[in-house]
């Protein structure tokens, strides 16, 4: 029986090292500006959370094995060796204190994509057995049950019945040859059932042909969060198989940030080929429908609304203008947070932090950055389009006794549809 080991971790590191990684490590001048982009450093003030330092194990492997100078240094005993102890120490830095928000990647003066490397470094962490328990649990459940929360189709079926009763519409299930296969996230199914109801209404309104799949309804990918391409590939393959079975043209990722990056950007590389279908985030689809005049709305929200851009959607996927177009459609008093779009601040829960119970305190600290941003513009409600962000915002704001409800953009849009 095989076992996770330091050697497997080192192998994974080696396999992840490519030209960008080498260019990035060659360029770091220890200026520390990345720390100024990291909510975990800024809100704790602890310099050990400086983003580039979180990559020290990967950097050591690169230096010792992929540079001549580093090899010489290694022979002379001048450089540190990556050990199990070291990786154990770095587990907190690579998981608990990093939401892979990618903000550091956008401000590094020499252009280091630190987030890109954190993703890679996690491969080695998993393979060496140094991943947080919470994420291991989520990965096991995701592979074994199809959902990181252990959710079954049965539960979703109840929700579907509920939606059908309240809307009088039919939720299409396993309908082949439609335009869109809609995926969901377990968190939405449990915490925000409004979402399914909203898209049912909107797609009916815009006459979109879509379906859910009993074979695969889950879009989230615990493998991406824990950083294992093997596990991530297993999960993505389910999506691909479902889409291929139903011969859909497009797959819609739900209001969930990492699920979108997992299916949209990582998926094809995990399975080693391009998809026979296209992948969209629900916000992209809605904005396309808006642009095509297929969504007609009436009335606008007139309270002061602001928008939280999920990192995975905005900074890491380039979906920035779409949500603003949709906001304009339904909100008359929309105010931007000071730093938004690609420069937005993370809610603190992404990158697996929210599935990692141990990181609870850090997650709460990191949220303070978002809280400060929200306080600056004093909105009456926050709008977002990621279930993880939404949960974090709701819990965080409540904890600080701020009476600011958080709504999903899709459901807000659904409320303003013109009756047919």
């Amino acid at each position: 029986m095989t076992e996770l080991s330091l050697e497997r971790g080192l192998q994974a590191f080696r396999d992840e090292i490519d030209a960008p990684v080498a260019a990035f490590f060659s360029s770091c001048v220890h200026c520390g500006v990345c720390a100024q982009a990291c909510p975990f450093y800024l809100e704790t003030g602890d310099p050990k959370y400086t983003p580039i330092l979180k990559l020290e194990p990967l950097r050591l492997v690169w230096e010792r094995e992929f540079t001549l100078w580093g090899r010489l240094k290694g022979l002379l005993g001048l450089s540190r060796r990556v050990t199990d102890e070291m990786l154990a120490e770095w587990e907190e830095l690579l998981y608990d204190s990093c939401s892979m928000c990618g903000r550091c990647s956008l401000v590094c003066p020499v252009g280091n994509d630190i987030q890109y490397m954190v993703r890679k470094a996690r491969e080695g962490m998993v393979a060496s057995g140094h991943a947080p328990e919470g994420l291991m649990g989520a990965s096991i459940r995701a592979v074994r049950t199809g959902s990181p929360m252990g959710l079954q189709w049965k539960t979703l079926e109840v929700q579907i019945k509920h939606v059908e009763t309240s809307t009088g519409l039919t939720v299409p299930i396993d309908v082949p040859d439609v335009d869109y296969l809609v995926l969901l996230s377990s968190m939405e199914i449990i915490n925000f059932p409004e979402y399914l109801e909203a898209i049912t209404k909107i797609f009916d309104h815009a006459e979109v042909s879509w379906t859910l799949s009993t074979e695969c309804f889950e879009a989230t990918n615990a493998g991406i969060q824990i950083g294992s391409k093997d596990i991530a590939a297993l999960l993505v393959e389910r999506v691909v198989k479902a889409a291929e079975t139903l011969r859909v043209k497009n797959v819609i990722s739900p209001e969930c940030g990492h699920a979108y990056t997992a299916v949209r950007w990582e998926g094809p590389n995990l399975i080693g080929q391009s998809y026979p279908f296209r992948v969209f985030h629900i916000i992209e689809v809605l904005d396309d429908l808006r642009a095509a005049g297929r969504i007609r709305t009436e009335g606008k929200e007139d309270d002061r609304l602001s928008l939280h851009d999920p990192c995975n959607l905005a900074r890491k996927s380039g979906v920035i203008q779409q949500q603003r177009n949709l906001m304009d459609l339904v909100a008359s008093n929309f105010v931007e947070l000071k730093e938004h779009g690609r420069y937005q601040w993370c809610c603190g829960a992404g990158g697996g932090v929210s599935s990692n119970e141990r990181a609870e305190d850090l997650k709460r600290s990191a949220f303070k950055r978002k809280k400060a941003q929200i306080e600056e513009v004093e909105p009456e409600r926050m709008v977002t389009m990621c279930a993880t962000c939404r949960t974090q915002l709701e819990e965080g704001l409540e904890e600080f006794n701020m009476d600011i409800p958080v709504v999903g953009l899709t459901e807000m849009l659904a409320e303003h549809l013109v009756d047919k």
Partner: protein, 220 residues
Amino acid sequence: MIDSVDFLLWVKGPMFNIALAIFALGVTIRLVEIFVLGRKPNYAEARGGEWGPGLRTMVTRSVADPGTFQRAPFDVLVGWIWHVGFLIALLLFIPHIELIKSLLGVGWPGLPNPVVDAVTAVTLVALVATLIHRLRHPVKRHLSTFEDYLIWTVTFLPLITGYLAYHRLIDPYPLALGLHILSAQIFLIVLPFTKLTHMFTAFIARWYNGAIFGRKGVSS
């Protein structure tokens, strides 16, 4: 007898070739080490190009976003001042241009010496400030290794010796000039083996950053 003229002739003669050869050897090793690694193929449908955004980021990353400027004004401002100052002193001082012209065959107009002198003075002050900042800022202090102080020193030395030579504050002058040239050679020799390589690799890093983000439709 090794006197200052012998010393000057040595740094202008054999040592110059030694330093430049080590520099050329080291830098090509470092660059080839990066490029040979390559990238794995990317099968995800691109939202944007790679080359355009990559080239764009190579330039735009020189300017900090307003938020970063607000949070780290010292790093941005002083970093800019000394980098620009260093480049002006390096590339726009007439004697340096003559040197470059003799090596590469291309030259360009320089700045009046008093301007370069003033810029150098400002650069020296800025560099001292960066050292103090490095010693005092919690993140920088935590990040810093021996190498950081080493490269600060080898960066500072050519400037200070150049300044002293220009103002003829080291006597005799051939010694001053020799020390200045030697310190520049030490800089060149140390460069490939330290993070001074960022002079070259930062632009590669920026290109990859711009390309990775650009492919996803984000201008980084």
